[in-house]
Symmetry: C2
Subunit: 384 residues, 2 copies
């Protein structure tokens, strides 16, 4: 084991303790530089990977010349710290009991410094720097990875999409993101969650004619005119679509409504904001067409949208990985960066330690055992 003086992070320590060290290196979006520096130094010093830095993103690639290349990706930023006194999902981290055992609390514990710790530990275990392997502790040298691996660490995931470090990498260095299959180490409780639903936002607007409400018959009520929009949304039964063997449950919802100017004026305008989460069997144009069909007769304007991602589980590398994990894969409902890989032509799944429902919460935490289990599954797969 080594503890290089040139790096703050010891990638060879227990992966749960490494997670705690990563939490302690506070890295709210926009303030990732110190952590990115530490990760870059550690990768250069403790692994044989070739490292490229772009802003606060780091790409570290192996060069074994294998026929397949897989990508392991994770963001290093977190949402802001809790503002509630006594919240444990903060910085520095804390343990229930002995360090390294049980539950680890802290900002980023589940989203997603546990996943980043697994990436870093894998990098050090699979691709140790020359002379750092302690042959004595492991008489039978472990198998060399069967696939080349690209590790991607990126900034600005928890903020507006335009700032995304992964988006910037895709624009500046698409070659560095080439691969046959990608795993995003977002929290999935150790289950493979394939692809993701797309998301589309539209505004449906009704237009009426203003009048004094004491003489309502002189106007036309735009809020009343919106009744069929709400009725159609309320009556709509969202589909569940099977894509590559996973069942994607869709949803179509009004997420906002506004209308009216004053308590004595017949409203001349009412706007319903609608969010359609659509299965990855369709593109964003198809999704928009479906909403337009449902709301036929109403003015519909797209305001926002991002395509989903197919799970890609039909790829051999993905199938092998699912077999190693040994659990039935699930569909991912929320939009994640797997969609960016999908757009680059790389099938991608989510797989990481921790519970996504604890993400961004004041009681954010992760189990040490879950982090180790995740590391073990990935290492077993990559060495197979």
């Amino acid at each position: 084991m080594t503890s290089p003086a040139s790096a703050d992070l010891d990638l060879t320590q227990d992966v749960a303790l490494l997670t705690a060290a990563l939490i302690d290196a506070k890295s709210v979006s926009g303030e990732e530089t110190a952590l990115a520096d530490a990760i870059e130094r550690a990768l250069r010093a403790q692994t044989s990977l070739s490292v490229v830095r772009d802003g606060d993103a780091i790409v570290a690639r192996s060069g074994l010349g294998r026929s397949e290349r897989v990508i392991l990706a994770g963001h290093i930023d977190t949402v802001p710290l809790p503002t509630v006194d006594g919240a444990r999902g903060t910085v520095p981290s804390s343990w229930d009991g002995e360090p390294g055992e049980g539950t680890l609390w802290g900002r980023g514990a589940t989203d997603m410094k546990g996943g980043v710790a697994v990436q870093l530990a894998l990098a050090a275990r699979l691709f140790p720097a020359a002379g750092t392997h302690d042959a004595g502790a492991s008489p039978a040298a472990p198998a060399s990875p069967a696939r080349d691996v690209t590790f991607v660490f990126y900034d600005h995931e928890e903020v507006e999409a335009s700032k995304s470090g992964l988006g910037r990498l895709a624009a500046n260095h698409p070659d560095l993101l080439a691969g046959d299959f990608a795993i995003l180490l977002e929290p999935t409780n150790g289950t493979v969650e394939g692809g993701c639903n797309g998301t589309l936002r539209v505004e449906a607007t009704t237009v009426g004619e203003a009048a004094h409400s004491a003489r309502a018959w002189m106007g036309r009520n735009a809020i009343h005119a919106a009744a069929p929009i709400l009725a159609r949304l309320a009556d709509y039964f969202p589909a569940t679509v099977t894509v590559d063997g996973l069942d994607y449950r869709e949803s179509l919802n009004a997420v906002g409504i506004s209308g009216g100017t004053a308590g004595n004026v017949i409203p001349d305008r009412c706007t319903v904001t609608i969010n359609y989460r659509f299965a990855p069997d369709k593109g964003i144009e198809e999704a928009e067409a479906a909403v337009r069909t449902l709301l036929e007769g109403f003015e519909v304007v797209r305001t926002d949208g991002a395509p989903g991602a197919r799970p890609g589980l039909n790829h051999p590398a993905a199938a092998a990985f699912v077999a190693v994990v040994g659990r039935d894969p699930l569909p991912k409902y929320g939009w994640t960066d797997v969609a960016r890989f999908s757009q680059l032509g790389v099938p991608a799944v989510n797989f990481g330690p921790g519970d996504a429902l604890l993400a961004h919460k004041d009681d954010e935490r992760v189990e040490a055992a879950a982090i180790r289990e995740c590391l073990a599954s990935l290492e077993a797969w990559l060495r197979a």
Copy 2:
């Protein structure tokens, strides 16, 4: 004719020219004092009425000892001046053509300095100060009024109800507002408009359960739940109710709707603001009960309301007045201060020169002939 040095206003001049003088005495709500001073001085100097001042309201009463007393009331304030360059509904006033003929433009022309001018002219003609009557110009002295008259001039009508000068008078001096019948000289194009509809505002709220919109089935959508509220309002066919011979057209409308907290959150609350304009055959409690019945199953909270006023045309004084005007009376739809008289037990109608639809407009104006016609009708009735 007299032109008292102690007063700025000559109440005996042509009533259209008097209207112009009143417009020129700018009196936006809250700035009525100078005009109230001038009116008080003129009434004291040029009439035999007994005058009481309360704030910027003035009550001037005759004491003929007649068996009936009628009230003529009007507010002396206006909405603010137009802010648009070149608008003619401003101060000072202006004429199309010769002063006193044709169209008079200015803030308050229709709402309601024309009506106030008619009140002041009537006061001077019916109840001239001792020694001011020019017998030479009118060899047959006009008949003395058959009814006692109370003239009410009040402030703060164009602002929130709590500031109303008429409301203050009703609280401080209910005795001064006693009478058998009241005419409010709001603009009605010279037609008697009887009573007024009441107004009720309620909020109907739906409550759901928030969830991420990517997992909509974890929540309940409060906006969708509001669909039946809008459908019932849209399908509702408002009644027309005949009260004392006038047809009151009701209306029931959503005047506002809001719901939703973010583009990716299932809304847990949606509030529809509803305004019911109800005929004066019912009180506010009955009106609220009707809305609750229509929206059965939904949470309904009353936020605001004011009862309407029956037209009171069955009163002999009212019937005589309608006969003198010689036009079919109409119902009043908007809420006006006749409702305050109604609450004091005094039947009241609206009758005044000018078009109510020009009130508050940048092109506010009134016809000189309409002002004179209004004065003639009232004088004929009061001398009958």
